[in-house]
């Protein structure tokens, strides 16, 4: 039976996480670390310890901004940004879902927007996010100003060959 560490390493398909010697450069440079449940280097340790549920259930993996500062500065080139992507995908696939529910709901609304029109129509995407998250009132005061300034186009051009876009979503399921 594959350990949690082996599973994550296989998916990252790069430098193994054991190469980390906990210098904490990743955590020192991480702009989201102050808001995270566990620091990025701590997550590596937890994966090594096999703490699967705790890691996949943590806010950390959803608060990672993918700014890639960690991988840029890691002396051993451990790809922590990619690790966070892998962990998020594992949390979704295993049915654990997201500790930071609205972050995932935003991603879902965004991807639904691509699936619908090939390109993102921001007002539609925001409406869908608000319905999913029930976060109905935040930013509503910004909307009229944005609309008047032409930043919220209700009708925006779509991709014409929508079949090719929909196919991507369908086929990736079968991979």
């Amino acid at each position: 039976m594959e350990t949690f560490l082996e599973e994550v390493n296989k998916r990252i398909d790069g430098v193994p996480l054991q190469s980390c010697y906990h210098c904490r450069k990743c955590t020192a440079g991480c702009p989201a670390a102050p808001y995270m449940e566990y620091n990025p280097n701590k997550v590596i340790k937890m994966i090594q310890n096999g703490e699967r549920e705790k890691v996949l259930n943590s806010s950390t993996i959803w608060l990672c901004l993918s700014c890639e500062t960690c991988i840029t500065r890691c002396p051993n080139k451990v790809d922590i940004a990619r690790m966070m992507d892998v962990l998020r995908q594992m949390a979704i696939e295993s049915g654990i879902g997201a500790k930071e529910k609205n972050v995932l709901k935003f991603h879902e609304a965004f991807l639904a927007g691509i699936r619908r029109g090939g390109r993102i129509n921001e007002p539609m995407m925001m409406a869908e996010y608000k319905l999913k998250s029930l976060d109905l009132f935040s930013d509503v005061l910004l909307a009229p100003g944005m609309f008047l300034k032409g930043k919220l186009a209700l009708l925006s051009p779509r991709t014409k060959d929508m079949k090719s876009v929909k196919d991507i979503f369908e086929k990736k399921r079968q991979l």
Binding site: C67, T72, E100, N102, E122, D139, K151, V165
Partner: protein
Amino acid sequence: MKVSYYPGCSLHATGKEYDESMKAVSRALGIELKEVEDWSCCGASSAHSTNFDLSIALSARNLIAAEKDAMDVMVPCAACFNRFKMAEHHLKGDKSLKTKIEGVVGAKYQGGIAIRNPIDIIYNEIGIDALAAKVKKQLTGLKTVSYYGCLLLRPPEVCEFEDYENPFMLDKMMGALGADVKNWSYKTDCCGGSLSISKTKIVVNMVDKLMKAAREAGANCVVTACPLCMANLDMRPSKGLKLPIFYFTELISLALGVEGAPETLKSHMFDPRPLLSELKLI
């Protein structure tokens, strides 16, 4: 020179000022743009945060579309640029992934065209001297800090951006326009990116820190090359901390005296025009 042009979703919506000023600057500098045929979204943060194969496939569809014109593709949005470079990196480095993704997209990926951001194209193809020679209105009194953010620069092996911890190309460009370029240590810090909507408080903290640092450096405005940075810096700072934020292309087009250049400034959420009128630049 002639290049393919991939605007991406933001440049047709919240980032429309970037699209308009990018086109104006390109015309003024003799860069001909041909829009990628029937492009779709690159997938942005939402695709790679949830499904790796999807993120590569969505970008690959566009790279394959761009390859039909066999020219370098200019990608102004830092997020799209990052996703395209990332897709290229994985498709070139992993044959079995390439085969799998080609199956999903239904077309072959050649990998023969260069993915370039406009900072690189203007700096390296047009050149700073040629840019300075075209300046009609020196941006005297404008004290800028250059804000590169994350997605143009990192990871460095993928983005191939020059001097990724202390980038200088925007600084040199603004200097060539006559701006007083201030140095600061936050050139490559993150603005909070895609958490702007789902975790707004975190993003407010992050942009407030940037705005304070820009003021401390003596700047009266911030220059960016990313529609996500623009949206966060323009809308999210707390009251009293806001500063005018410009796309670098807006300042180039202003300095080159492009007709109608101030038009795009009207749609910024924090109006930069009072500063520019005070400095007699508009």
